[in-house]
Amino acid sequence: MGIMSRIHTGPRQWTDEDDSLPPDSWGRAPSVRRALPWGFVLVVALLVVGRFALAPHLASPALQTWATIFVAICVQALPFLVFGVALSAAITAFVPASFWTRALPRRPAAAVPVAGMAGAVLPGCECASVPVASGLMARGVTPAAALAFLLASPAINPIVLVATAVAFPGQPLMVAARFGASLVVAVLVGWLWLRFGRSDWLRIPSRPHGEGSKLAVFGDAMRHDLLHAGGFLIVGGLAAATLNVLVPREWLTAVAQVPWLAVLVMALLAVLLSICSEADAFVAASMTAFSPTAKLAFLVVGPMVDLKLIALQVGTFGRAFAARFVPLTFVLAVAVSALSGWLLL
């Protein structure tokens, strides 16, 4: 360690001595490229140029309708996203870890439904649910309960339910169906994992450490979640606007009229679009051609299985885990939401 500190000076400190490798920044000098945000300069330049050169040409009714729908979804969902991220960042920053080990019952079979219900009061964006669950496991919570929480908290927390109520006015059963179906899936997956899961499938990460003051952790968690979730929300808005304007209505109604196909298509769309659960209700509501059951499938599958979550789970818990967890969750989510939709909607 002494030799190293003589060779490298300035901001290059090997602060984390648990790690066997030195920090990335030792390898190369910080490039001048990173000093100026060139990407951002390009964005502003495009905006200015576009305002004067392009704006008169962007006046076709189809493009304007597409843009209206796109901006409407983004703008409508944004306050819910911001509030949800703020609450979940607050929990990450301010709730001590010991709270969890004290609050859950000892018997794993009982801890699973309690952890699932805890998702109803503790908002967790999908982006946060995987790290939070891995943190729980690292602190000794039984993995099945942590997994139940991982699935439940993005799906049934109060922000999501309010957003669903706002997106489907006059349809309280949609909110109830989302809550019920998601909770059932989370608890079922937890119990199944308890019964059939093997510990060598799950790679429990080492204990994470927080850095900086609580307020700094809060602000950084918010920025991090907003940037991740915001990008995917925009993708969802783009897809919904395109489906609404470009795809001929007849195609949509043709798919929507075959019940099992509609449910499956919406479930797969939910996996592809990876929208944050606080915002997906608005995208689902915009798909007016589809039946309520198909929209319910979109809402139940989305917070539990999507490309972003799969990537996070592979990265945090390992491939062996994801290869079993993802198909199980997807199949259960589709089945339970189809059943709930048939019963309630």
Partner: protein
């Protein structure tokens, strides 16, 4: 993407949202009027987050220039928990602590609404959207079972939704022989000699809007998307049962006045 870009994106998006909600009424083209305070709040939060992040990044640069590592500020985009992926695709490694992987590339997409707002300035939904969906509007759950009788003389100002409800659901046929004045925009019809007076109604936001249409006969069709006030009387339907498909109540128009597009284009 480095910290500077991340925070600048937040500032840009927050600024755009504030521009359409706090400093103008453009937001009414996209969402319901009651949503304004939430939009302003969200825009302000984004702006504040971005600005404080910029200040932190600037301070960190100053600190690093003095020769010691920045204190208190966690590395770009990370906080103290596992965070492997987020870019479209994602990297499959777990990191034990958040060291700077920068922000996710997908966050650049958050500039798109800003582009849309400033370059395209999307207007309220008009005849293109109204012509696309010919589905009958979903029945509102709060159906008026008792319609108040229309007394008095002179034309009655009425919302299109009320006109449609009275046309189909009123057993006492309160519209018979009564002059009404309706406001909406013009949507052309494929058949000659008639056009639709339309207003869009929102379930939640502009993405799930559906059209409320009244078939107008008797005056010449104004250009599509023109906002007008039409005065006329209801033409009772000649069929006994409601036919399948989209049917619209008919109005025999006697007068037409062009008006400015209202600030609140959607009917509540």
């Amino acid at each position: 993407m480095n910290r500077l870009s991340q925070n600048l994106i937040l500032v840009l998006l927050g600024g755009a949202v504030l521009r359409i909600s706090a400093f103008s009424t453009t937001y009414l083209n996209y969402v319901k009027p009651g949503f304004r305070p939430f939009l302003i709040g969200a825009g302000a939060v984004l702006l504040v987050l971005g600005l404080t992040g910029l200040v932190q990044a600037w301070r960190a640069k100053e600190g690093a220039g003095d020769g010691h590592a920045p204190a208190g500020g966690p590395p770009a985009g990370g906080n103290g928990h596992d965070d492997p992926a987020g870019d479209g695709g994602g990297r499959g490694q777990g990191h034990g602590h958040g060291h700077g992987h920068g922000g996710p590339r997908i966050a650049w997409l958050m500039c798109l609404p800003v582009f849309a707002i400033f370059l395209i300035a999307p207007p309220a939904l008009g005849s293109f959207a109204a012509a696309r969906s010919d589905d009958p509007p979903p029945r509102r759950s709060q159906a008026l079972t008792a319609f108040t009788p229309l007394d008095g003389k002179g034309p009655v100002d009425m919302k299109i939704s009320e006109f449609i409800a009275r046309a189909w659901d009123d057993e006492k046929k309160s519209l018979t022989g009564r002059t009404v004045r309706l406001t909406g925009f013009a949507v052309p019809s494929r058949k000659p000699g008639r056009w639709y007076l339309t207003r869009m109604q929102l379930a939640c936001c502009a993405a799930d809007a559906f059209p409320l249409k009244v078939l107008v006969k008797g005056v010449e069709a104004p250009p599509a998307d023109t906002w007008v006030e039409v005065t006329g009387t209801w033409i009772p339907p000649t069929f006994e049962k409601m036919p399948n498909g989209a049917v619209h109540p008919e109005l025999s128009a006697t007068g037409l006045v062009e008006i400015d597009a209202p600030a609140e284009p959607y009917e509540d």
